[in-house]
Point group: C2
Chain length 350, copies 2
DNA sequence: TTGAAAGCGCTAACAG
DNA sequence: CTGTTAGCGCTTTCAA
């Protein structure tokens, strides 16, 4: 009867434990007849006698107990989670990046909070803020906002790793970069080697400045003049890319090859070329930065510069989690790979 | 001098506040000369006099204070986060789904924990478990594990929404489905209407059972016999898909059209057809389920059944967050759309 | 090996 | 309107 009384005191949760709030460490302790400290030890690897441990585990199983990460985080002052902010989850590069972060995070036993900023700096800042409130152990971002905004995030005590963008004047922010310069250089050398002299660059401006620079520099090194008419701005969005591609190709500017600064722009170039009945590569060669999956499916398959998104994410996460000593020298630079397919050939003899 | 003493007592954090641990509600209260409850009210919308509020806000700004979501979660017994488990972030459908969830979660002010199970049921279960420990307010998943495993998750008190899979025998689990049956039916009707009688189904088995069923049923309804030689199994992975496509197309089974059950399988079919120098659609028509971006870039552009991934994610999240009353009748069924492009034509006269 | 107790940052009930 | 206080679930000294 004493036993019955005890159960009564413990509440309705014994038999038919309704899906009420989850069991707590106290419930388990009571059920196992031990102190809560012992239960804690069982679950966080302290030393407990085999006998006691078994009893605790049994009770925990009975109650379907899971230690609350919230309670633990509060005590430990770290959550074991990291924040990841990308421009757009559906972009193949971002998707690879996310996969990389997830893979690495898993090896560290960290979980990942994800959000997308969609090119909106204010939104990005709000997301970062929220993640700080969640007390993530660090933030990985493909930042679109101003360096100042991110500097304030690190000032607030966050560890942040920037991927694929350099945040000028923020030495505390570790950076993982992809060597687009080398990639573009290889591509330009390839095109020039094929005999092209009038190479268009599609997608100048904003996020692709480094690529444009590499384009100009390489051409200069090779002694090929840049025709400014062939350098056209485009944002990496379908409408902008399409407009730019159509503008370039329709006006018959005499480009024998088109270098698209990104995969969306490459997509537009392919589409426009097809609509204008330009044969690739007979009439015009096309190549792009970003080796997305359709490049191989295209007809002809598109030559492209592959960018290691998965690696970038993985490395970024490693940087964030492993090298807690800030002293990492300079940004990590990841190599690209020129994937030559069938979309580039010698220019048509005019 | 009294002032000086106070600052001294407050510690080193006044001037040049080193990036120590983040300021707490206590710090702010002390700095503003109010009680912690008042600070709490300022930040969680209680009533505070304008004057006091200003002082608190000033102090908080000075200290760069952000309320800790961990503390709040512990007190409130809810974290404001939801878990999202997909098979693979880099799959275009999953990416759309994630974007949808993110969009919806934002309108509810919830954050999202993401992880990928990669077809591994055990890993999926571990992820779900971890999310439960994090005390997410609910879990959205494209489940790959057994219904039993998920039933135990809901038994543990979690709200879960299943997307794109039905978890048999788990009435508590809300479900968002995509009407693949209708999509495949439309596609088959289209092909039969074009004159095809020997239609191959590539990708029978595992995750595509509903699609295969719809394939068979529709053919039966239209009075067209199914040649079992033309129904070949394939998992939605590149190697398996490729093997299946090559197997089918190389043996010259006499299929005049190929229906690929997924985009990876469609990709394989396109590649194999190209290698075998089969003209599309002159020699063989190809269509697939899943309208990924390359379908339009392909040559010829591929006819496909578009599946609303973004919508599915959005609706799933809504279901999880809005309709907290379980009484939702049956699964949500989202319509597909048949996108007709150039990859299907009348069969070659033999 | 084990238990009691303090305290992580916060909210809410209760006084004043 | 404001402050005091208890307590959310957990880890971790400190004793026993």
């Amino acid at each position: 009867m004493a036993g019955t009384t005890e159960r009564g005191e413990a509440g309705e949760r014994g038999p038919g434990r309704r899906a009420g709030r989850p069991a707590t460490i106290k419930d388990v302790a009571a059920a196992a007849g031990v102190g809560i400290a012992t239960v804690s030890r069982v679950f966080s690897g302290g030393s407990v006698s085999a006998d006691t441990r078994a009893r605790v585990l049994a009770a925990a199983g009975e109650l379907d107990y899971r230690p609350s990460a919230v309670g633990r985080s509060l005590k430990l002052q770290r959550t074991g989670g990291i924040g990841l902010i990308v421009p757009d989850v559906t972009d193949p590069f971002c998707a690879d990046l996310i996969a990389g972060v997830l893979d690495c995070a898993r090896t560290f036993g960290e979980h990942v909070l994800l959000d997308a900023a969609h090119g909106d700096a204010a939104r990005e800042a709000a997301i970062a803020d929220r993640m700080m409130e969640q007390r993530v152990d660090g933030i990985i971002a493909v930042p679109e906002g101003a360096p100042a905004a991110w500097r304030s995030v690190v000032a607030a005590g966050a560890r942040v790793v920037s991927v694929d963008r350099v945040l000028a004047g923020a030495p505390e922010i570790l950076t993982v970069l992809i060597d687009d310069r080398a990639g573009v250089r290889a591509l330009v050398e390839y095109l020039v080697g094929l005999g092209h002299r009038r190479i268009a660059f599609l997608g100048a401006g904003a996020p692709a400045v480094a690529r444009e620079r590499a384009f100009r520099d390489t051409l200069a090194q090779l002694g090929v003049a840049v025709d400014e008419d062939l350098v056209v701005a485009a944002r990496p969005e379908r409408d902008s890319a399409y407009a730019a591609a159509a503008g370039l190709l329709q006006r018959q500017a005499g480009a024998s090859a088109v270098l698209a600064a990104g995969h969306l722009i490459g997509e537009a170039a392919v589409l426009v070329a097809r609509e204008l009945d330009l044969r690739v590569p007979a009439d015009v060669s096309i190549a792009m930065v970003g080796d997305v999956s359709w490049a191989e499916l295209c007809d002809p398959p598109l030559t492209a510069v592959a960018r290691p998104g998965h690696d970038a994410g993985y490395r970024a996460c490693e940087l964030l989690l492993r090298d807690r000593a800030r002293a990492v020298g300079g940004p990590v630079l990841l190599p690209t790979e020129l994937v030559i397919r069938g979309s580039c050939g010698p220019p048509r003899r005019s």
